[in-house]
C-alpha cells in the first residue's frame, strides 16, 4: 500500500515536471514517437502482406500440387537435357490413390484482340480438371464441352481483366476473339481471383482445351506438356501424396534406382512455407531497422534526462534536504523517462494507425494495427524508458545532498 502511494506520488511529480518543460518533453517524445510508429507500421505491413498472400495461396486450390520437369545432368552427355512431361503422365497420375484430379498444362503469352481492342494475355491449354483443381468458377456462360476437352475446339474461357479490357465490361459470351492467328469463340468468363502469390494477374488469362493449344498456339512434341497440376484428398498428408506421384513418374520414366528424379513435385504447403520464409526475412529486416530508430529515440531520452538531472541538481538537493529518500528521487526521474516514452509511444501508435489505415485504403489490402503490435509498441517504449531512464535516475539518486545544494 505504501509502495503504491510512493509510486503514485512519484508519478505525479514526474507528470508535473514533464508538463513544465513542455517543448523539451515534446521533442524528446518525438524520437520515441517515430520509433514506435515505425515498429508498429512494419508489424502491421508484415501482418497485412502475410494475410494477403495467405489468401492467394489458398486460392491455388485445396491441397494442390504441381509437377514440373527438372533438368538432370547425365553422365557422358554434354550439357543438360530437360526430359518432357507428357499428357500420359498426367493421366497416369490420376491413378494414385490420394490424387483426385490431374490436369496437364501448356502455357504461353499471346496477343489477343476483339475489334479494335488489343492486349497481351497468358494463355493456358489444359483440361476441364484444371477448374476443379484451382476451384475457378464460371461467372457467365459455361466451360467448354467434354467433347472439346478431348479433341479440341475453337472455344475459350477468359478472365475478368480481359472482359474489362476488350469488351469494356460488355457481355463477351458468344463473341469471337482473335488470338494470335486463330479465332476462338468465348464460351464463358471466370470469377475474378486477384493476384497470384507471385504478383501475376490471375484474371488476365485465356483458357483453351489442351488440343486447341497445341494445334493453334503452341506446337510441341507429341503429348508434351509444361506441367501437371494436381489436387489431392484434403485429408491426405502432402508427403504421402508427393511420394505416390514420385513413384508413378519414376516408373513411367524408367528411372533406375540411384538416378535422380527428372521432375519436381511441389506442394501448396511448400509455397506457403517459402512465402512465409521470404516474408519472415523481410519482416525481421524491416523490424530491425525500425528497432534501431526506437533505440535512437531511447538514447535521446537518456540524453535529455542526463541534462535534466544536471540542471536540476539543486532541486534534487532541496528535495533530499526536506526528506526525499534515494528511492523517491530514483522513481521520480525514472517515471519521468517512462512517461516521456509512453507519451511518445501512444502518439506513435496513433500515427501508425492512421498511416496503416491510409496505406490499406491505397492498396486495398486488409491492413490494421493489431493489438499485438500495439501492445508490443507500448511495452517496448516503456521498457526503453526504464532502460534509458535508469542511468540518469540513478545518477540523480546518488547525489550527495550537501553537494547538490551547493553547500561546500
Amino acid at each position: 500500500m505504501s509502495s503504491l502511494r510512493l509510486l503514485l506520488s512519484a508519478f505525479r511529480l514526474a507528470l508535473v515536471s514533464v508538463r513544465k518543460s513542455g517543448v523539451r518533453s515534446l521533442l524528446t517524445a518525438l524520437g520515441i514517437l517515430i520509433g514506435v510508429a515505425a515498429v508498429t507500421i512494419v508489424v502491421a505491413l508484415g501482418e497485412g502482406a502475410t494475410r494477403a498472400v495467405q489468401g492467394t495461396i489458398d486460392s491455388m486450390g485445396e491441397n494442390a500440387f504441381t509437377v514440373t520437369p527438372r533438368s538432370v545432368a547425365r553422365s557422358g552427355a554434354r550439357g543438360q537435357r530437360v526430359p518432357p512431361l507428357t499428357e500420359a503422365d498426367a493421366a497416369a497420375l490420376t491413378e494414385a490413390p490420394t490424387v483426385r484430379h490431374a490436369a496437364p498444362l501448356l502455357s504461353s503469352l499471346t496477343q489477343v484482340s476483339y475489334r479494335e481492342n488489343n492486349t497481351a494475355a497468358e494463355i493456358y491449354g489444359t483440361s476441364l480438371a484444371f477448374f476443379d483443381i484451382r476451384a475457378w468458377k464460371v461467372d457467365d456462360g459455361a466451360l467448354w464441352s467434354p467433347e472439346a476437352d478431348s479433341i479440341g475446339g475453337s472455344v475459350c474461357v477468359i478472365g475478368r481483366t480481359l472482359v474489362q479490357e476488350l469488351f469494356d465490361g460488355g457481355d463477351p459470351v458468344g463473341q469471337l476473339l482473335r488470338i494470335g492467328r486463330a479465332t476462338l469463340r468465348v464460351v464463358g468468363t471466370l470469377e475474378p481471383k486477384g493476384r497470384s502469390p507471385f504478383g501475376q494477374d490471375q484474371d488476365n488469362v485465356i483458357l483453351v482445351p489442351l488440343a486447341t493449344m497445341r494445334a493453334k498456339f503452341y506446337p510441341t512434341a507429341p503429348g508434351q506438356i509444361h506441367r501437371v497440376l494436381l489436387s489431392a484428398d484434403p485429408e491426405a498428408r502432402p508427403a504421402r501424396v508427393t511420394e505416390e506421384i514420385t513413384q508413378i513418374l519414376r516408373q513411367r520414366h524408367r528411372l533406375p534406382d540411384g538416378v535422380e528424379n527428372d521432375f519436381r513435385v511441389r506442394s501448396q504447403e511448400e509455397f506457403r512455407a517459402m512465402q512465409q520464409q521470404v516474408f519472415g526475412v523481410l519482416e525481421v529486416l524491416l523490424l530491425s531497422i525500425a528497432t534501431i530508430s526506437l533505440l535512437v529515440g531511447g538514447i535521446g531520452v537518456m540524453n535529455i534526462m542526463l541534462v535534466s538531472v544536471a540542471e536540476r541538481t539543486r532541486e534534487i538537493g532541496i528535495r533530499m534536504a526536506i526528506g526525499a529518500r534515494e528511492l523517491d528521487i530514483l522513481l521520480q526521474f525514472l517515471l519521468e523517462a517512462v512517461l516521456l516514452c509512453l507519451l511518445g509511444g501512444l502518439a506513435g501508435a496513433l500515427l501508425a494507425a492512421l498511416a496503416v489505415g491510409g496505406f490499406g485504403q491505397l492498396t486495398g489490402w486488409d491492413m490494421r494495427v493489431s493489438w499485438r503490435a500495439l501492445t508490443v509498441a507500448l511495452a517496448t517504449s516503456s521498457g526503453i524508458g526504464v532502460l534509458f531512464g535508469f542511468l540518469p535516475a540513478r545518477r540523480a539518486a546518488a547525489l550527495d545532498p550537501i553537494q547538490a545544494l551547493g553547500r561546500e
Binding site: 505504501s2 510512493l6 506520488s9 508535473v16 534536504a321 526525499a324 545532498p401 545544494l405 553547500r407
Partner: protein, 245 residues
C-alpha cells in the same frame, strides 16, 4: 533532556592526499526551546557543524543524539527520514523549487511523508497563513519578493511541525527590514510554540537576537555564551518605522 547532544564530534575531509580536520572534538548541548546563533568566520567549521546538525552529513567521530536518538551512524535513507520528521531547513538562497507555486513548495515535505493530498493542502495553507502569505498560495517564487520567498521557505520548514529549525544565513540575501521581519517571525515561533532554532550568521546584530551565541573557530567551539537580554527583532522593526512590506 537536551534536544541536541553532540559528544566529541569530529569531521575529516579528504582533500587530495591531505586530510582536513574540519571539526575537532565538538561537544554541544542544545535544549528544547532555545534560540541559538552559531557564528564564525568562513572556514571555521560552522557549515560542517550545520551539515552534521541537519543530518545532511555524518560525523567521522563522536556521537550525535537528536531528540534522544543516536543519528550519527545512520544510512542516507534513514537520515532522509530524520530530516523529514525532525528538522526544518531555512537556507540563505531560499531554495524553493522554481516554477512551482508557494503552496506546492510548502506541501513538498509532506509528499515525502506520504500525507494524503487533501491533508497536505490543508496543512500547507495553514503554514502559509502563519507566515502571513495566505494570499500568495498560487504565486511562483519568481513572483515573490525575497522576504516573501524566505517566508515561504519558513512555512515549508514548519509544515511538518518539526521540533528543530536550522536556519543557515537566512537573512544573508535580505535587506535590513526584511531581515528583521524574518527574525521576528523566528523569535515568535520560539516564544509561542517552543520551537528550537539554530541559526548560522556572521552578522553580530542578527546573532544578538538569539538567546545563546556559539562561536566556532578552527573546528572547535571557542565560546558559548548566553545572552542576558536578546534583542527583540519586532522592536527593531518598530524603530525602523515606516510601513512594513
Amino acid at each position: 533532556m537536551a534536544l541536541i547532544e553532540l559528544s566529541k564530534v569530529g569531521k575529516d575531509y579528504a582533500s587530495g592526499p591531505e586530510v582536513v580536520r574540519a571539526l575537532k572534538e565538538v561537544d554541544l548541548e542544545i535544549g528544547a526551546g532555545e534560540f541559538v546563533a552559531v557564528i564564525g568566520a568562513s572556514g571555521s567549521g560552522k557549515s560542517t557543524l550545520m551539515n552534521i546538525l541537519g543530518c545532511l552529513d555524518r560525523p567521522t567521530r563522536g556521537s550525535y543524539r537528536l531528540a534522544g536518538v543516536d543519528v550519527s551512524g545512520r544510512s542516507a535513507d534513514a537520515r532522509a527520514i530524520v530530516r523529514n520528521r525532525l528538522i526544518g531547513f531555512v537556507f540563505q538562497g531560499f531554495n524553493l523549487l522554481p516554477r512551482t507555486t508557494a503552496l506546492e513548495n510548502v506541501e513538498l515535505p509532506l509528499v515525502y511523508r506520504g500525507v494524503s493530498a487533501r491533508a497536505r493542502r490543508r496543512r500547507a495553507i495553514a503554514a502559509l497563513a502563519k507566515v502571513g502569505l495566505a494570499d500568495r498560495l498560487g504565486h511562483s517564487p519568481a513572483q515573490l519578493s525575497g522576504g516573501q520567498q524566505q517566508r515561504v521557505a519558513i512555512a515549508r520548514a514548519l509544515v511538518t511541525d518539526p521540533p528543530l529549525v536550522l536556519a543557515d544565513e537566512p537573512t544573508g540575501n535580505l535587506d535590513t527590514r526584511t531581515s528583521y521581519e524574518v527574525l521576528a517571525l523566528l523569535q515568535a515561533l520560539v516564544r509561542d510554540r517552543g520551537l528550537t532554532v539554530v541559526l548560522v550568521t556572521h552578522e553580530p546584530d542578527i546573532a544578538a537576537c538569539a538567546s545563546r551565541v556559539v562561536t566556532v573557530r578552527d573546528g572547535r567551539i571557542q565560546a558559548d555564551e548566553r545572552t542576558a537580554e536578546p534583542t527583540r527583532a519586532a522592536r527593531l522593526l518598530e524603530e525602523l518605522g515606516g510601513a512594513p512590506e
